[in-house]
Amino acid sequence: MLLSLSIWIPIAAGLLILAAGGDRHAPLQRSLALGGAIFGFLVTIPLFTGFDVQNPGMQFVQNIPWITRFNINYHLGVDGISVLFVLLNSFITVLIVIAGWSVVENRVGPYYASFLILSGLLNGVFAALDGVLFYVFFEATLIPMFIIIGIWGGPNRVYAAVKFFLYTLLGSLLMLIALLFLYFKSGNSFEILDWHKLPIPLDVQKWLFFGFLFAFAVKVPMWPVHTWLPDAHTEAPTGGSVVLAAILLKLGAYGFVRFSLPILPDASRYFSGMMIALSLIAVVYIGLVALVQSDMKRLIAYSSISHMGFVTLGFFVFNAYGVEGALVQMISHGFVSAAMFLCVGVLYDRMHTRMISDYGGVVNTMPKFAALMMLFAMANCGLPATSGFVGEFMVIMGAMKANFWLSFFAGTTLIFGAAYTLWMYKRVMFGPVANDHVAALQDLNPKELIVLGALALAVLFMGVYPLPFTEVMHGAVSDLLRHVAQPKI
């Protein structure tokens, strides 16, 4: 029931906002959005506090027959892996609503409605235990995101929105065929948990693996299907970039954990070399690409791809360090990338440019902002005592266990990551005041301070004391690894 609430409260709030009418009612719509987002976040807190860490299975389960013709159920539940993302998503939604408060003036109602509906759908993706239900939520998220990029985005928004939509749709349509195939293979069941137990021959597993791979690799995104992401990120409004980086990218990685690894363990092992290679290319090559970007948002977008390479690397080394590290990295990246995009948003709202060369010496006029952004930049390069360190360190340890050279190449990210992040930070923040516009900058207003402050606390807390997070996921992860270790042929 709690999960249903966490899905439908934001969606209901979104519909209510739409019903409230045009921009004349903007103040009401903003309050409704904030209320809906906070309420939506509050109902997810019991999911965390009431979570039984000893139980590796699904909790808060709700199962209602939905489309009996195809044996499709409205089946929700979370385990230690998915519960964290429901929380993360609801938390980020609150921040997005606050961040957009005085920035969005044009079509306020649809803006907030899109974000709240998106938030509810995303919770649905993480909570769904039925293949079709998962697919419905997974695909429905495209619509609000398409609208968000296309209406409130930058100059090249239409191209970016259409590219985003078609790219991700191609992947998910192939997944649909894989889902249908599993449905018939398992004797007319769309239950994901039933599929986990289903024996499948290796050559069939290989085909299915590619069916799922397209959907999830595009979402993650993995090299070489990442090209939609820099465009989408760059053109999206700040809130859109934040959701994209913090949550939407996690859908792909989550899909690997929920579908590919447990349903197709043999194919996953068979293709692990390929997956690791692709992940390392993302980590190293995309890290280098990030180095030469002149647009701040583009730089952070590439840095996201590079960090998500860590996540897929962690999954496909098949040990507890790797998988848990990858999950921690996903949560941490949710906080850090959201914060980085919000920081760029803060600058963009004042200067209306994202070009690094237009800035310089911002620290002189915005000291508070510079201090906070410093923290996030450090977290982005994986400095110890920030959340970024924990995940990367664990994944590198997991890779070390598998093979020294894997960890060697993965470790280069600590250098490249530091290089591109800090170099950008230096060019934007330090040095003499670059121009009159920078000289006229105002420091953070209270709303921005709340948003960035909350994220700073989260980043520090997770960096210093990650136990609450790893404790929750531990049972589910060891269960998953046991599952992957058993051949299902």
Binding site: W66, F165, I177, F181
Partner: protein, 501 residues
């Protein structure tokens, strides 16, 4: 009244809706002679009343038959069949016709085309559809088909001063006549082989003869023509050439009419001929349908991208959608095994019903955005609709996403259903091709959403339309959304209908 006469009346009860419609149409025709006003309120009301009466009659027949446990009745010396599928498809046809009347009224009035002929022809073509849907003999199939088609030819030429319309009507007529000829030729072949016109007897004869190679070759020869004739009416490649021109050239209300009910009737015709009559030749016709499905999806979706005219784009999209529908029809019999046949055909029926809902909404939207002296026909005309009217932009967005097959709209479940049929029949490659081509299709639907939401409007005039039209169009969009959340009811109904074939 003698007892035998009484039973005869009861026996003929299932044809009550047809009788009512015939009488009602004649009444409308007569009444229209005395209506002087331009607006023809009285005739419109009467026509809607007749449709409502037909719907009630059908429901009554359905209930009587259900309670008497006659799920399938064959009447009039084997000419007419009354089963659940016929009732459901007929009800959908009434609804489509009634909605079409609501949508087209203002448009026709603005252009001085609101004449009695429109109503009469529309209702006679509906009668043709009903005969076709309930046909149990080659004779009634042909009778219904011609009654429906002849009325539609005339309707396309409704605006006789427009060269485009007359050309479209000519084209439609010539190609339609050709397809009827093909169909008749195929029917005569099968008649020659089986010696009967009655479809259930044809089925018995065919199952007896299918083992014999010489007989089978003869039957398949006839089958090819029957399939070609049916494909013409459904409008799938390579028999699709008339669709773009007719959709484009016909007045928009007529396009709406052609796109809705006749598609359902053509689907029923395919079920009657291929499933009721020639199921033992399924191996042969399924291959043809598979090829046609693939071609239609490819040609329809790819060509639609290049269109700048919305009506033409929707025409190509129809071709693609009918190709998708065929995926369900071609998946029934797997290696001689008919266990999943009802499942597969019911997905095709579900697809057709959902498609009709979507097509009604899409053309209805074109009619809504048109006004006196302006036809909303080009993609350009959708520009900035979300600024002019957020609500109708939303409805149109739902329609477009539904046509593209995205959740949470009914279009998604339609696609899911037919794809599941194809996958269960082992046609994995066809299913993969279908989703890849539907991705191509998503592009042009997405372009409409882009025009409506991301572009600035060319004009700022608010959208004006009669209230009944606004209400029905809004409901049309909402139903698609509602079916997207609760599709079970309609899916279950389709399955019941096909199971009692």
């Amino acid at each position: 009244m003698s007892p035998s006469a009484a039973t005869a009346i009861v026996d003929h009860l299932p044809a009550l809706p047809e009788v009512l419609l015939l009488v009602g149409t004649c009444a409308v025709m007569l009444l229209d002679l005395h209506v002087k006003s331009e607006r023809r309120v009285a005739t419109f009301r009467l026509a809607q009343g007749v449709l409502l009466a037909c719907a009630l009659a059908t429901l009554w027949v359905m209930q009587v038959q259900w309670e008497a446990n006659y799920s399938r009745l064959i009447l009039f010396n084997g000419l007419f069949v009354s089963d659940i599928m016929s009732h459901i498809v007929k009800l959908a046809c009434y609804a489509a016709t009634s909605v079409a009347l609501v949508y087209s009224r203002q448009w026709l009035l603005d252009r001085g085309l609101l004449r009695g002929e429109f109503l009469t022809l529309l209702m006679f073509s509906l009668l043709g559809m009903m005969v076709l849907i309930s046909a149990n003999s080659f004779l009634t199939v042909y009778l219904g088909l011609e009654l429906m088609s002849l009325c539609l030819y005339a309707l396309v030429a409704l605006n006789r001063d427009s060269p485009a319309s007359t050309e479209a009507a000519m084209k439609y007529f010539v190609l339609g006549a050709l397809s009827s000829g093909l169909l008749l030729y195929g029917m005569s072949m099968i008649y020659g082989a089986t010696g009967t016109l009655q479809l259930n007897e044809v089925a018995q004869q065919v199952s007896r003869m299918a083992g014999n190679n010489a007989d089978r070759a003869f039957l398949v020869f006839g089958l090819v023509f029957v399939v070609a004739g049916t494909a013409f009416k459904i409008g799938v490649a390579p028999f699709h050439m008339w669709i773009p021109d007719v959709y484009h050239g016909a007045p928009t209300p007529v396009t709406l009419v052609i796109g809705a009910g006749p598609k359902l009737a053509a689907f029923a015709m395919a079920i009657r001929l291929l499933v009721n009559g020639l199921l033992d030749l399924a191996q042969d016709w399924q291959q043809m349908l598979a090829l046609m499905a693939l071609l239609s999806m490819a040609i329809g979706n790819i060509t639609a991208i290049a269109q700048t005219n919305l009506k033409r784009m929707l025409a190509y999209s129809t071709i693609a959608h009918m190709g998708f529908m065929l995926l369900g029809l071609m998946s029934g019999v797997v290696g001689g095994n008919r266990l999943s046949a009802a499942d597969a055909y019911s997905t095709a029926l579900f697809y057709s019903l959902v498609y009709v809902l979507m097509t009604l909404g899409a053309f209805g939207m074109l009619l809504l955005l048109s006004r006196a002296g302006f036809d909303c026909e080009l993609l350009e005309d959708m520009r900035g609709l979300s600024k002019r009217s957020p609500w109708y932009a939303f409805v149109m967005m739902v329609l477009m996403f539904s046509l593209a097959g995205l959740p949470p709209t009914a279009g998604f479940y339609a696609k899911l259903a037919v794809l599941s049929a194809a996958v269960s029949a082992g046609q994995l490659w066809l299913a993969v091709a279908a989703v890849v081509l539907s991705l191509v299709g998503a592009f042009y639907y997405l372009r409409i959403v882009k025009l409506m939401y991301f572009d600035e409007p060319k004009e700022t005039a608010p959208v004006q339309a009669p209230r009944d039209m606004r209400v029905v169009l809004s409901l049309n969009g909402l139903v698609l959304l509602l079916l997207g959340i609760f599709p079970q009811g309609l899916m279950g109904l389709c399955l019941t209908a096909i199971q009692h074939l």
